[in-house]
Every structure is written in structure tokens, then in C-alpha cells.
Symmetry: C2
Amino acid sequence: MGVDVVSPEKLASALSEHWSPRVIAEVDDAYVKVAKVQGTLAWHSHDQEDEFFYVLAGTLRIEMEDRTVDLHAGDAFVVPKGVRHNPVADQECHLMLIERKSTKHTGDVVTEKTRSLAEQLRPV
Amino acid sequence: MGVDVVSPEKLASALSEHWSPRVIAEVDDAYVKVAKVQGTLAWHSHDQEDEFFYVLAGTLRIEMEDRTVDLHAGDAFVVPKGVRHNPVADQECHLMLIERKSTKHTGDVVTEKTRSLAEQLRPV
């Protein structure tokens, strides 16, 4: 992982399942992931880890308790550690994410959409 | 830093100086940076840190001792820790980088192009 040139957008496009992030590169104690999303994930937080979102295609809304941000293709945003958030995509959206290896998909919340790290490490 | 939505490509476009990365977001112990590059930087390595490259616009060639990779817009690549590399852009190229806070611009090599972390933390 991480030894070849990859196209995050091509990899995100190739995913068949929504809200199922896949690791595409390792950078020290962080993973770079891609995801294809539509609809909503779940309200959750990561108490110890910041989370970096970069929109490859489409639009992502990140609802937080005190505000909401809209990210369009090419936009980036960091959800600071401890901030409860809920990602929402009205239409299909492709994301690149940077998360610490310790980051759990939906924090301490577990839903049917929650993916384990092992699931995220499957090849695209 | 990192509390607002940012457009890495717009920020990279706004830079006036080549090879002068700027921090645009903080993700735990890592910085997300943008840079506008043309020509060559310097052969160097980061002995303790991986370095993530994502090409926002243009083409970047990364020369390494055992191979060379060409990254086009939308491509990503990780230079593993300890690997000597030399980034080259025949034409102007815009980059997004993910580096640990401890990463030095040109490793232990210092040239006239080397930028301190303080310089990289100046607002775009």
C-alpha cells in the first residue's frame, strides 16, 4: 500500500457500496481513504482524532451541533477531535479522507453502516 | 487553522513563489500543505516521516534512486520515509501535501529554496 501511484477519484468511483471507506495509502500513523457516499451516515465524534475531508466529486454537507458546512468538489475541511458531526450527501459524492489509524468509522456509535478497519483495508 | 472550508487548489493558485509550501490545515500531528512548483527542488529524504503528494493541477515527476513516477492531476503517491527523492515539474504544478509536523522541507539538505516551518505557516 502506498508504493504505487493511485488516483483517489478513480478508486472512489470504482466503489460499489456507499459509506464503506477504503484505505488507499498509509502515511505514518494515518490512513488516506476514499469513500463513495450518498444519504447520511450517523451522528458521531472521534474524541482523540481530527478528521480531514476532501471532496473529489459532488457535494458533502457536514452537520455539526453549532453549524453546518457545505463542501463542493475541491473543498477541504477538518472536523476537529471531539466535535459531533453527521456527514450528509443529497446526491452521490466521492471523498478522500485522512484519518489516524486509530480512528473508528462512526466513533463510539455503531450502526448497520459502521465498517471495521479490516473491512476498510480490503483492496478496492 | 482548519476550522473553515478551504479550497486547496484555489490556495495553491494564489501562491506567488515556487517551492514555498503553505500550511492550510492541521490534522493531529500532521499538516496539510499546498505548494506551487516549477523546476526542481533538491534531492533529499525524510528519515522518520512518510510524505503524501496529491497533484491538484499539472504534472509532477518524483525521481527516486531506483525509479521515477509521474503524477498527473488527481494522482496521489507516498514517498516512504528514508527514500531519497527529487520532485521535478517541467511546467507549473499545484500540489497538496500531507506531512508530519516534524517534517523538514528538504530534509537535512539546505538550499536557497529551503523554507522553514515558520515560513510555511504564513497565511496564503
